[in-house]
Symmetry: C2
Subunit: 232 residues, 2 copies
Amino acid sequence: MRAADLPQVRSLKLFESMTDQNFEALMEAAYLQTFPAQLELIREGDPADFLYVVIEGCVELFARANNRESTLGMVHPVGTFILAAVLKDAVYLMSARTSKRSKVLLLPSDRVRDIFYKDDSFSRSIVVELASCYRSVVKEHKDLKLRTAVERLANRLLRYHVDQGETGSLKLPHDKRTLASLLGMTPENLSRAFGTLKGYGVVVNGGSVKLNDRPALETLAKPNALIDDRTT
Amino acid sequence: MRAADLPQVRSLKLFESMTDQNFEALMEAAYLQTFPAQLELIREGDPADFLYVVIEGCVELFARANNRESTLGMVHPVGTFILAAVLKDAVYLMSARTSKRSKVLLLPSDRVRDIFYKDDSFSRSIVVELASCYRSVVKEHKDLKLRTAVERLANRLLRYHVDQGETGSLKLPHDKRTLASLLGMTPENLSRAFGTLKGYGVVVNGGSVKLNDRPALETLAKPNALIDDRTT
DNA sequence: CTGACAGCTTGATCTGAATCAAGAAATGGC
DNA sequence: GCCATTTCTTGATTCAGATCAAGCTGTCAG
């Protein structure tokens, strides 16, 4: 990878406190690449050759089985994916594709494991990242098992709203097809769910959403820190 | 805790390669306790004061929201639970109760974090354990999103069958109520799902299940290593 | 043995969500 | 700008699974 890209990568939380020597050893074998939209980066079942870090753009994690496909998560800058597979030297459980043009850092997994065991600071960052990813999936799982489709959508809108600065309106960060799959429903059903939310002050216009009656929406959504909070 | 219990704990994979000194420091503040069935050990939302290790018995992990309750997992010996909350010093995302009389090891979480940072061998074991838990939840999530209720039950039966030595019959390890919740369905629907599986050679008698037509059951279940395999 | 109770099953019905089938609206290429 | 393609919405219908309501079965205390 090019030397000009190094400072940008070095400043990521994952790498900032590791030693220069180990950082160089890690980057020596790394690739920083820009991929077009809709490119399949990894396929579930393949051995975990690289750890991926999304630097710019957005990557969709998904899985297939029984002729069905489901979106399991969206990774935004700066986030990693398939960390557990790399640490365990196992196969990927999820596939990944870019959802828009994206800059992605690829770190060879044997190198990551080497330095994980050498560099205490790096291993701590990794563990925090891994624990966070773990808790995110648990929250997703609770969301799916304990809520109806409309409740999931309502809470998701409230989350995006907070992410985007609580201005009373928000932009959907993904197309509705993807959002539907992420929320565990069909696109048709997402449309209808938006219809239901009209009664709670939710006005949709393409990818723009206005929340005109937050109290009503929250009464419906019943947001729960143990499912919706991104930080803990 | 009593000195007599130490060797048993020391031999657990999580602790076997750490230094004596660190092991003693960890155990000094630990409790090894036996709890009766149906005792709530932790409640979601509480701060993670202890890391739990199930030594004997069985512990159910579950969560509540919106007047609904769902079983998220069952922990058998020797398994840990709420490791991520302990490492992140955050609140528990799940509640836990004993499903039968159980012997459980409680490790104060500040002590676990201290020694995690001091003892390389321990931290590696922890990371492997954490990565494994993470991958398990991802698999659960895929199971729920990509399969119907009958498919989930069929695959679960095949899993128990393998766990118990592929003798052609198996014992359900939990009562049907719990199994239903674990599989994301109601007890009534579990009954009906067993009814459907009769056509595939599945004969149920209380907690005993016979699989009389494995090929048919597998055709229905379409087991998938990336969802069902426990080891990778 | 008997009654009470929990756990499970079965049947009837209802409901949330998927599917099927058109349209409508946005998007992109030329 | 205009057509072609994709994305989204809307309506009709079907289906899986939840809920409601009895009934059944095994267990256990007395």
